[in-house]
């Protein structure tokens, strides 16, 4: 497996009223070809900002430092014109909120076709693209034919809009697809259908994905690896089974314990404000295992098992057997 995307020490801050609000702090993660990396965490932890940073879609007041390598090329150094050649073609996205992400005054077919069509395309190209759109619609379980192509978003259900957005993301056969909370706006019955669509995409189209979600069950179903974000940092990253079944970071443990299937044990406290962050570990004020070192020192990333890293001071000076026994006892 070859590395496709590598994010190294990504920092994003926003200039707000002469202050800099630091949102992402040294975020590092990587995605291999044909691999799905799920990013989970509660609302406001910086998942979508990470996605937007990769797509160069952050607002004008954002300050980005660090590196994002896509196929070995640092895309943070590219200007908008250079990046536009990649965006929509090699790196594509499926946005959250299907109801607001489609242009209400444009036929859904045209919105999908637009991703492929050049500005001054010939009639023949347009026809060819329309066929391609019909094909992708039927592949995603949407009705084929002119009628559906010429529907407006207001005539479609939430699930259908979600599929149209997926069609927009995959019609160019991108190598990397950034999917932002795809199950957020669909009801429970449609949720599995949407997740199945992504599994099929991964298997059929060999497309790597950054799967941003706060639905842990969805992440488990679709992803090969999982990254857990808290307050702008990646606190744990590793293979899906390992992270979900043997979580090491107290935050991940709390997240999993709060799932309805695991007893619905809600964590204490709230995520701190980005304008008033604790000095040491950002989770220290909510953590049950917190000690002096957590309050004073920023934790470092420790490799717990093969490819499974966690950013917690508990594991700082432990050797492998100690970590293992800690995992069993806790």
């Amino acid at each position: 497996m070859r590395g496709l995307l590598e994010i190294k020490n990504l920092n994003v801050s926003f200039a707000v009223d002469d202050n800099h609000v630091h949102i992402l702090n040294n975020v590092s993660m990587d995605i291999n070809e044909n691999e799905v990396l799920a990013v989970i965490g509660e609302t406001g932890c910086g998942k979508s900002v990470t996605g937007s940073a990769i797509l160069h879609l952050l607002p004008d007041n954002a300050i980005v430092t660090g590196n994002i390598f896509f196929k070995g090329q640092d895309i943070t150094k590219m200007n908008d014109h250079e990046f536009r050649q990649l965006r929509g073609q090699e790196i594509s996205s499926v946005p959250q909120s299907p109801s607001t992400s489609l242009n209400p005054l444009m036929h859904v077919g045209n919105q999908v076709a637009e991703c492929v069509l050049e500005k001054n395309s010939s009639e023949a190209d347009k026809k060819k693209t329309a066929l391609k759109v019909h094909e992708i619609f039927s592949r995603l379980g949407l009705p084929r034919g002119e009628d559906f192509y010429e529907n407006y978003p207001c005539e479609l259900s939430g699930g259908m809009c979600q599929r149209v957005l997926i069609a927009m993301g995959v019609i160019t056969h991108p190598e990397l697809l950034i999917v932002d909370e795809p199950t957020k706006a669909v009801d429970w019955a449609l949720r599995k259908d949407v997740m199945d669509v992504f599994c099929e995409l991964k298997n059929d189209m060999k497309c790597a994905m950054l799967f941003i979600t706060h639905d842990i069950a969805a992440a488990k179903y679709v992803a090969d690896r999982v990254a857990v974000m808290y307050c702008g940092e990646v606190v744990e990253i590793g293979p899906t089974d390992s992270v979900i079944n043997q979580p090491r970071h107290p935050y991940t443990k709390g997240l999993i314990a709060s799932m309805p299937s695991k007893g619905f044990n809600v964590m204490n406290g709230f995520m701190p404000s980005f304008q008033d962050l604790p000095k040491g570990c950002r989770f220290s004020d909510r953590c049950e295992c917190s000690s002096d070192i957590c309050v004073n020192e920023e934790p470092e990333s420790v490799e717990i098992s093969a490819g499974h890293f966690t950013k917690c001071s508990i594991y700082k000076n432990m050797n492998v057997s100690e970590i293992f026994s800690h995992a069993i006892t806790s």
Binding site: R84, P104, Y152
Partner: protein, 315 residues
């Protein structure tokens, strides 16, 4: 769609009837004797005498009770007969035929000027949100919309007609004479449309589908003209519709200042002479203009925005 238009036309006739009725009775309750006003306006003060008053009252059937006058007049209107002007002694319809095109020419010129200026300015202003050009556009539109139009008219006359002597002061003689009234009339409309388009564009540019359009890798021009502008247009159509209505009827002051021989000037003149058939003719034309423009706005709306058709816009 045809059913919808027919339904709307029926409403338009109701509106016209109500406007005409209200105008009829309003003119009758205003102080002053109609016969006296007619004689003064046509022959001067000296001609007023009991005999002439009697003659005029007989000639125009002014002795009938008001309600009878109203029903007689209404019967005529329904058959397409707007009556004869007291002052001009000609059929109202003939005078309107001469005056209406002048108002339409003036209104259309003002409309064109305002569209040509406001649409690019509104877009540029929104795209440069909070930059100097946006501040300039906001300040200048606020300033221009705050000045009363008669003051701007006088200012323009002083500068271009009296000081620079490049444009005529008033009247309607050739292309140069339309410039000042059209510019004056367009200023308020330009300011309103620019501000409306700016805020509408800003609102649309913040929508998710614009970010999605950018994420597709579209060029800026495609995003702005293909996605943003079309969504920003519906509120502008409402504003433009109201402004056109205002131009048809509300050019009264401008037409008077520039002695432009349109409907507005005619209306003021007719009110002064209590020339009831003429007043009614003008009011009906203005109300009809308003109603038709509103109908066109609603139809345009449903053509642009599919959501209106489907959310019961037909009702």
């Amino acid at each position: 769609m045809i059913k919808y238009i027919i339904k709307r036309m029926i409403i338009v006739f109701f509106v016209l009837w109500m406007v005409a009725t209200l105008t009829f009775f309003t003119v009758h309750v205003t102080p002053g004797d109609t016969a006296n006003a007619i004689i003064v306006s046509v022959y001067g003060e000296d001609a007023v005498s009991p005999e002439t008053l009697e003659n005029v009252r007989t000639k125009f059937d002014l002795k009938r009770p008001v309600f009878v006058q109203y029903t007689d007049w209404l019967k005529n209107v329904v058959t397409g007969e707007l009556g004869t002007s007291y002052k001009y002694n000609k059929p109202v319809i003939d005078i309107l035929k001469i005056r209406l095109p002048n108002t339409l020419i003036l209104g259309f010129s003002a409309f064109l000027i305002s569209i040509v200026i406001s649409i690019p300015f509104g877009i540029i202003s929104a795209l440069n949100h909070n930059r100097p050009i946006d501040h300039f556009s906001r300040f200048s539109t606020l300033l221009l919309s705050s000045f009363p139009s008669f003051w701007i008219a006088l200012l323009l006359i002083i500068i271009f007609s009296i000081q620079l002597k490049v444009l005529p002061v008033s009247g309607m003689a050739g292309f140069s004479s339309i410039i000042l009234p059209a510019v004056t009339l367009s200023i308020g409309m330009t300011a309103a449309t620019t501000r409306m388009l700016r805020s509408s564009m800003l609102d649309v540019l913040g929508q998710d589908y614009i970010t999605v359009a950018r994420a597709k890798g579209l060029e800026d021009n495609q995003v702005i003209f293909g996605h943003a502008l079309r969504n920003a247009i519906p509120p502008i159509i409402t504003v433009i519709g109201l402004q056109i209505g205002h131009i048809i009827g509300g050019a009264v002051i401008i037409e008077n200042i520039f002695a432009w021989p349109g409907i507005g000037g005619l209306l003021i003149d007719s009110i002064n002479t209590k020339d009831l058939p003429m007043i009614e003719g003008c009011v009906l034309i203005i109300a009809f203009g308003y109603a038709i423009v509103n109908l066109i706005v609603d139809i345009t709306y449903s053509c642009i925005d599919p959501r209106i058709k489907y959310s019961g816009g037909d009702n």
